[in-house]
C-alpha cells in the first residue's frame, strides 16, 4: 500500500516495536514489581487476572523459528502452534513468568496442561475448565468454574478480588475491544485505510500489553490512520479464517501476492474483539456469558435451533456478515495440522461460504513459515483467480 508521505506514524511505529520485542512490556511490569501471568488462547478471561492486580501476557510462538527443544518433552501430534509456544517457553523466552493459565479450549491445550505445568514449574498455575456446551446449565457451570478461578487467583495474590475491581476490568477490556472494532472499520473503505499486515502486527503486539496501554496504542493508531489518504491500486479483498496467528508472516504473504486482507476470523482478530462482556449485576455472569457464548470459536458447541440451514447461519452467520460488511471477494480458510476443532468445521464452513458466492481457498498449514513457497504458490493462484 502506498501512503501519502508526511504523516507521522508514531502509533504504528510503537506497535512495530512491541511486535518485534514482544515481551518488553511484560518485562517492564516485572521490573516495577508486578506479577506476570502467561496464558494461552483467546479464552482465558483476562478480566479476572487484571482485577487481581496481575499482568497477563499471551504466550506466543514464532513460525519463523524451528521447534527444537519441545520435541523431546511434548508429543509432535500436538497442534504446532501450541508446540511452538511451549518451545519458546522451555527455551527461556518466558522465564520471567510468575504463573500460567490455560483454558479448556481444545485437546492440544487441555491434554498437555500437565506437561506445561510440571516442566515450567511456576509459582502459580490454573486450568480454566470451560465447558463445551452453551446451554443454560453449561453457562451456570462455567460461572462456578470462574468462581473457582477467582478464589484461586485471590489465594495467589493474598487478596480478595472485589466486584468493583472486576467491573472496572470489564470496563477497560470492553473499551479496548470497542477501540479495536473502530480500527477495524477503517478497513471497510476501498482501498482500506490500513493494511492487513499493519493490523496483524498491532493485534499481536497488543497480546503482550496491559489493557490500558493497549487501548492507548490502538487510539493512537486510529487517529493517525484516519488522517491517511491512501492511494493504492484496486486489489481483491480477502478474509482469512483460522485459529491463532502469532505472527504476521502469513498475512504479509497474502498481501504480497496482490490482495488486501480486509477482515478475518482469527485470534487475535475479529473473533476476539467482536463480543463485549455484558454489564451484569454480578460481573462474573457477564464474563461467563461472553467467553462461553460470545466468542465464536470452533471449540464451543452451539446447540442447534431450527433447521440445519438455520444452524449453519447460527454457527457461521458472523462470517457472512463480515463478508458483506467488508466487501470480501475471497476467503482463505487457514487451518493448522492437528487442530481438531477447526479441522472438523471445514466441509460445512466451506460450503456455507461458497453458497454465498464467495470462493474459498482451504489451506492446511504445518505452521512453520520457514519455507512458505508451497503456500505462496497456492495463495497466488487463488488471488489470480478472484482478481
Amino acid at each position: 500500500m502506498t501512503k501519502e508521505s508526511g504523516i507521522d506514524s508514531h502509533g504504528l511505529k510503537l506497535a512495530e516495536r512491541h511486535y518485534q520485542d514482544y515481551t518488553c512490556s511484560a518485562l517492564e511490569s516485572k521490573a516495577q514489581g508486578k506479577k506476570v501471568i502467561g496464558y494461552l488462547c483467546a479464552l482465558v478471561p483476562l478480566e479476572l487476572i487484571a482485577a487481581a492486580g496481575l499482568v497477563p501476557i499471551r504466550i506466543k510462538s514464532d513460525p519463523r523459528q524451528p521447534i527444537t527443544r519441545a520435541d523431546t518433552l511434548m508429543e509432535t501430534i500436538i497442534c504446532p502452534q501450541i508446540r511452538g509456544c511451549f518451545d519458546m517457553a522451555v527455551k527461556g523466552k518466558y522465564d520471567f513468568l510468575d504463573g500460567l493459565v490455560l483454558p479448556h479450549a481444545c485437546d492440544s491445550i487441555c491434554r498437555p496442561y500437565d506437561v506445561w505445568k510440571y516442566t515450567l514449574n511456576l509459582p502459580y498455575s490454573h486450568f480454566v475448565n470451560m465447558p463445551h456446551g452453551t446451554d443454560d446449565s453449561s453457562q451456570k457451570f462455567y460461572r462456578e468454574i470462574l468462581g473457582t478461578f477467582r478464589k484461586s487467583l485471590s489465594g495467589f495474590v493474598g487478596n480478595d478480588i472485589s466486584d468493583s475491581s472486576l467491573s472496572e476490568a470489564v470496563r477497560l477490556y470492553n473499551e479496548n475491544r470497542a477501540a479495536v472494532r473502530e480500527l477495524f472499520a477503517l478497513r471497510r473503505s476501498q482501498p482500506p485505510l490500513i493494511s492487513g499486515m499493519e493490523i496483524s502486527k498491532l493485534l499481536i503486539a497488543l497480546m503482550g500489553l496491559p489493557v490500558a496501554q493497549s487501548s492507548r496504542l490502538v487510539r493512537e493508531v486510529i487517529s493517525e490512520v484516519k488522517q491517511r489518504k491512501v492511494n493504492s491500486p484496486r486489489l481483491p479483498r480477502v478474509m482469512i479464517i483460522g485459529a491463532q496467528m502469532d505472527d504476521a508472516t502469513f498475512v504479509d504473504l497474502v498481501e504480497k501476492s496482490g490482495a488486501h486482507v480486509v477482515t478475518d476470523a482469527l485470534c487475535p482478530g475479529l473473533r476476539e474483539y467482536s463480543a463485549d462482556v455484558p454489564v451484569t449485576l454480578d460481573p462474573l455472569d457477564g464474563i461467563a456469558e461472553r467467553y462461553l457464548r460470545g466468542v465464536k470459536c470452533a471449540r464451543t458447541y452451539e446447540e442447534k435451533n431450527g433447521s440445519y440451514s438455520d444452524y449453519l447461519d447460527q454457527r457461521f452467520g458472523f462470517i457472512r456478515r463480515a463478508i458483506e460488511e467488508f466487501k470480501v471477494e475471497g476467503v482463505i480458510l487457514h487451518v493448522f495440522r492437528y487442530c481438531d476443532p477447526f479441522g472438523f468445521e471445514v466441509p460445512a464452513m466451506r460450503s456455507y461460504i461458497e453458497a454465498s458466492g464467495v470462493p474459498v481457498l482451504y489451506l492446511e498449514n504445518e505452521y512453520s513459515m520457514l519455507d512458505a513457497s508451497q503456500l505462496e504458490t497456492r495463495v497466488q493462484a487463488f488471488i489470480e483467480m478472484i482478481r
Binding site: I77, P112, Y118, P131, H132, F141
Partner: protein
Amino acid sequence: MTQERKRRVLATDAAASISRMVRDMIATTHRARQEGKKLAYTFIYCCYDEILRAMDIVPVWTENYAGICGAKRDAERFMQRAQAENLSRSLCAYALCDIGFDAWREELGEMPEEPPWGGLVKPDMMLGSGQMICDPRTKWFQAAQHYMPDVPVFEVGLPWIPYEQDYRARDVEDYYVRYIVEQLRSLVKFLEEQTQKKMDWERLSELVDLSDRTWNLVVEAYELRRATPCPMDTGDAMSTMVPLTFMMGTRQAYDFFEGLYNELKLRVAAKQGVVPDEKYRILWGGGLPSWYALSDFDYFHGKGAVFPAETTYRLIEPVYELDLPPSGDPIEHLAWRWTRYWTFWHDKARRRPCSHPDVERLIQYIEDYDIDGILMHEAFSCRSWHPGLIWQLAQLKNIYRDIPSLVLESDIIDIGSYNEADTRSRIDTFIDILSASQ
C-alpha cells in the same frame, strides 16, 4: 480393499469368543434398522450407557466400527473419502473413517461396496459425549451432520476435575456433579422426545446397579492377572474391552466377566501362563493400540514377554472404593461415579511429592503386577490419550525409579503410519534392554 492379515493368538477362551460378539453387535444394529428401533451413534465411556439401554436405544459405537475397518485393514478407502471432503488426515482417524463412510453411504443411498461386516448403519440420532475426553467427541457428529442434516445431534457435557495444587477435588465436586446431573437429565428428556417413550426409572436403577457390579467384577478378574505366570495379557484385554466398553449395563457384560473371572481362576491354579516361559512382564502404560498390528503381541510373546496390565480401556475402578454418596437417584449415582472415577488417584498422588494421578497409577501397577518395563503407543491421530506420555515416563523416573521403557509410534487405524520391520527391531532392542536389566 482388505489386505491380508495375520491371525492373532489369544490366551483365554473368553477373549476368543469376542470376535463373534462384535459381529453380533453389528448385526444387531442392522436388525434394529429393519425393525424400526431407534439407533444412536455414540462414544465409549460416555457415562450414560445405562440410560440408552433403559430406553431400548440401540447404540452404534462409532469408534468400534472404525476399529473394525482398521483391524480388517480396510479403513483407507473411507479415510480417503473424508480427505476428499477436505477433512485433514491429521484428525482422529476413527472419525475420518466413519465420516468418510457416512458421506459415501448418504451419497449412494446405500452401503458402499463390500463394507466390513455389513457397514455402518445410518442412525436416528447422534450423541456427543464431550468435554474432556477429546475434541472429536464434540466435533465429529457435528461434522457428520453435514451429510445427514436430518439426524439430530445431542451433546452431553461431561467434565472432570483437573488435578491442581490450588484447590482440591472436594472443593468443587458438588458443582461438577450438579452440572453432570443436569446434562444427563436433559439427555433423558431428549431421548424421550426422540422415542416418544418415558424413561423407566426403576429399570434404569437396576441397570446402574448391574453395571456397578460389572465394574467390580472386571477389577476382580483383571487383578488375577497379577499371578506369575500371567494368565491373560493386554493382547487379550484388547478383545475383552468389548463388553467393558460397548456393553456396560447389560447382563451379557456381567456374565462375560463372570466367565472370565472363573476362567482366570482356573488358569492361575493350573499355572497356565500366556507364554510357557515367562521372562519379562511389561505394562502397557498408555495409548490406544494399532488395530491392524495386534499380532505384535504375539511377537512379544515369542520373546517371553507378557503384559499383565494396561491403563488403556481400563476406565473403571472398584465402585466400593469410590466412596459414592448414597443416592436413590440413578442419574445422581452416574454423575458421582463418573466424577469420583476421574479423581480416584488424586489423593494417592498428593501423598508423593511432585506426583500426578497418571504417574501414580503407573507406579501402583508396576508394584501390583511386578512389572519389568513399560510400553506405550503414541497414535498420531488421537490427541486424547497420547499427549503427556513422554512426560509421564520422565516424571516416573524423577519421582520413583528408572524403568526400561519404549514408546512406539503409529496410529489406531491409519496403516500408512506403521512399519512392521522398524517396529519389530525397536521391540528387539527393548527386549535386549529388559534382559540386560535383569
